[in-house]
């Protein structure tokens, strides 16, 4: 690829960027994203505040206790004022008829429930009954059930008269470790064990969300470039452009302009979301603290340093460049806008394969931890743009893997550009039937670049 083939790309870049930023679609989309970013945390906090108003997540005021077991020493006082969960909850021991109490609960204005503690074949059952009016939510009973269960377990231990030392032995954790014969001990005399490298269910969904978001961003950016190229071809503007710049300069200018437009949107969303979180956390609710920290794995929050964010943006940018070039190539095989869907099948299949490999790797990371498939997904240029940013934030990609992945992605982009340079000149002026992939390779083989 000669540098003269891309001379003039800056003019294409400037025009495309300005027209993209001026377009109604971009402005409307941007306003929606800005509003979403600014409102997401106040709304989340409002919802949480609403749940905790009146002093706690559990709004139940009284629990009527029917204890049919031998365990009578349950410490309900500990549950009555659990911080941020329960406020001034009354536990009322009952000797009345169970059915009468249920009738009373049904008619009471204040939210109350019945708790029947029973034993069935060696199993203790904590049975909560609520009114049919829907004042008490199932989620509240689940929280209350966990708190009561904890106190009840403590009461069982006290009833059994087990000392703390005995309890410690009973509660000792049992874990299994795997090692290979002859390799149990390393040079320093430490036992070599297989570390648990799997990710949690929440981390899996985080990774899945990142892959999906990047797939959406990549498809949106790449489709925009392909549409723009087909539009220039179908409106014949391309002939006006080609007397001033080479076709490859048009691809480079358009790709980078779209990339900048996407990054402007993306970075604005992230910055505004952080600002929104900060303002919301400080001003609106002291009780819930930092909303991001409440919902995202603390390890991810710790990994959100400038260096990691920069690495993620670089990988994202390289991914968009890679897929946009592929979309530009695919788009140029069509002569009319109506043919675009069919011509983009190459790009669509490639991006979906990449995203599915990423999603598969995320699943296997949750089930098996680090494994060869995950390493493959992290360095394979089709999948790395989707999975690598999330893996970096989860701390699941080592520096070496990240570097190898970035290098492979750059090499792929250069190879793709070289291929594009060979066929694009013929493609961009082609009218008539859509060119098939087989013909593309034939064109590249027969191309005599630089003959002009």
């Amino acid at each position: 690829m000669k540098m003269s083939n891309i001379s003039g790309w800056k003019d294409v870049f400037n025009f495309t960027l300005v027209q993209t930023l001026k377009s109604k679609a971009f402005i409307i989309g941007y306003i929606i994203f800005v509003i979403f970013s600014l409102l997401i945390f106040p709304v989340m906090n409002y919802v949480l505040d609403k749940d905790t108003e009146d002093g706690g997540l559990i709004k139940i005021k009284s629990v009527h206790v029917f204890n049919e077991t031998e365990i009578k020493n349950i410490d309900f006082d500990k549950i009555s004022n659990l911080e941020n969960v329960v406020n001034d909850l009354k536990f009322i021991p009952e000797d009345r008829n169970y059915e009468d109490v249920l009738e009373e609960i049904e008619t009471e204005k204040e939210p109350s429930v019945a708790l029947k503690i029973s034993k069935d074949e060696g199993t203790y059952i904590l049975h909560f009954t609520k009114s049919t009016g829907g004042i008490v939510k199932n989620a509240e009973l689940e929280l209350l059930g966990n708190a009561v269960k904890e106190s009840f377990e403590r009461a069982i231990i006290d009833y059994a008269d087990i000392s703390d030392a005995q309890l410690k032995v009973v509660k000792s954790q049992v874990t299994s470790r795997i090692s290979t014969v002859g390799k149990e001990i390393d040079s320093e005399g430490n036992e070599i064990v297989v570390e648990d490298t799997s990710i949690s269910y929440n981390d899996y969904w985080f990774l899945y969300g990142v892959i999906f978001a990047l797939l959406m961003i990549t498809i949106m950016a790449s489709s925009k470039i392909a549409t723009s190229i087909v539009m220039e071809k179908s409106s014949k503007v391309i002939e006006q452009l080609l007397i001033s710049v080479k076709p490859l300069a048009i691809v480079v200018g358009k790709t980078l302009a779209t990339l900048v437009a996407v990054l402007i949107q993306f970075i604005s969303i992230i910055v505004l979301a952080f600002v929104s979180n900060k303002i919301t956390s400080n001003a609106m609710s002291q009780q819930n603290g930092n909303v991001i920290e409440n919902y995202i794995n603390p390890e991810i929050v710790n990994n959100l340093g400038v260096d990691n964010i920069l690495i993620c943006l670089i990988i994202m940018a390289l991914g968009i460049i890679f897929y946009s070039t592929l979309a530009a190539l695919a788009g140029s095989t069509a002569s009319r806008v109506e043919e675009m869907g069919e011509s983009l099948s190459l790009f669509t299949i490639a991006s979906l394969i990449g995203a599915y490999i990423g999603m598969g790797a995320a699943g296997s990371l949750m089930g098996m931890g680090d494994n060869p498939f995950v390493y493959f997904a992290l360095i394979f240029p089709l999948s790395s743009p989707f999975i690598l940013p999330g893996a970096v934030l989860l701390g699941k990609s080592s520096i070496l893997i990240t570097i190898i992945s970035v290098i492979l992605l750059i090499i792929s982009i250069i190879l793709l550009f070289n291929f594009t340079a060979k066929v694009y000149e013929t493609l961009i002026l082609h009218t008539g039937n859509r060119i098939k992939i087989k013909e593309l390779f034939k064109m590249a083989k027969n191309s005599k670049e630089g003959q002009i």
């Binding site: 409106s235 001033s244 003959q451 002009i452």
Partner: protein, 313 residues
């Protein structure tokens, strides 16, 4: 300064679309690139402008390889191309920037040409009090003729020394045709080099000094238009007489090209044959109202040349 196209050949697979084409433009003026549809005119233009690669041959400007990107070139493509949704001013400024015209100068030139081509109200639409355009400034809402004017502006913005006009007058009304012709005359007067491709033969005859006629990629005729016509000789005879002269025409073996109630268009073999007919009519005392002997028109030459090739096949 001159354009020289030497032995240019372009193939798509086994199909030869331009076959060993050679021509030169040694002096400013208009060169006509003619041919039937699919003859290879647009492909030749695209090759000259560097949009397409070619299999063999050379395109030189002043003895050096032609480089449209770094030269002063303007191009009015056959199929008009403007961004339908973008403002006309934005895209004209973009085209000017691509041709390295500074923004200030570009605006000055856009103003000049938009006034000249009577499209100022679209390029610089007056604003309402609220700052909105009173008229659309986007290409998609312009008539075909007005889009063509904008396209011509784009070609002329860089004040190019070498201008290629592919079907410049197609689809224009008579008023705008005259406007375009006037601008072309002005460009010729500025000693510019123009290549024009058109199916309107009278227009080509009006402007062009040299021509090349292509048919399926092959050159079937080329040279100076006046000399080509001279070579053909004055073989078109338009004659009008007060009496029926059919018998005299057939006696001399002259071919009747066309006959109207008042006039004959005859194809003579040479001037002597025409003079023989005239002498015969005078001898017979038949009053001759009109006797005009002239060279064949470009239209006739074109049809003859391209038609001959097809007939041979």
């Amino acid at each position: 300064m001159a354009l020289s196209v030497q032995n240019l050949t372009k193939k798509y697979g086994e199909k030869v679309v331009v076959d060993n084409l050679s021509f030169e433009m040694n002096k400013p003026g208009v060169f006509a690139l003619l041919g039937t549809n699919g003859a290879g005119k647009t492909t030749t233009i695209r090759i000259i402008l560097g949009m397409l690669s070619y299999n063999s041959g050379k395109v030189l400007w002043d003895g050096k390889p032609f480089d449209a990107i770094n030269m002063s070139v303007g191009y009015l493509a056959e199929e008009r191309g403007l961004y339908p949704k973008y403002s006309l001013l934005d895209q004209l400024l973009y085209f000017a920037k691509l041709r390295n015209v500074p923004k200030k100068e570009a605006i000055k030139r856009i103003k000049y040409w938009s006034e000249r081509l009577l499209v100022e109200e679209y390029v610089f639409p007056p604003k309402t009090r609220r700052g909105r355009n009173t008229k659309s400034n986007r290409a998609e809402q312009l008539s075909k003729g007005n889009q063509q004017k904008i396209q011509l502006m784009a070609a002329l913005l860089a004040d190019p020394q070498f201008l290629i006009l592919d079907e410049p007058l197609s689809g224009l009304d008579p008023v705008n045709t005259d406007l375009f012709k006037q601008i072309i005359r002005e460009e010729i007067a500025k000693e510019k080099y123009l290549i024009m491709s058109s199916h309107q033969m009278p227009t080509i005859e009006e402007f062009c000094s040299d021509i090349v006629i292509l048919d399926r990629g092959k050159t079937v005729l080329q040279g100076n238009l006046n000399e080509i016509k001279k070579d053909y000789g004055r073989v078109n005879l338009f004659i009008k007489a007060d009496k029926d002269i059919n018998e005299h025409i057939s006696q001399l073996g002259i071919k009747i090209q066309n006959k109207t109630p008042s006039e004959y268009h005859l194809k003579v073999q040479n001037e002597e044959q025409a003079m023989a007919l005239l002498s015969k009519l005078i001898e017979e005392k038949i009053p001759v109202v009109k006797f005009e002997l002239r060279e064949p028109s470009l239209h006739e030459i074109f049809v003859e040349k391209v038609g001959n090739v097809h007939e041979d096949e």
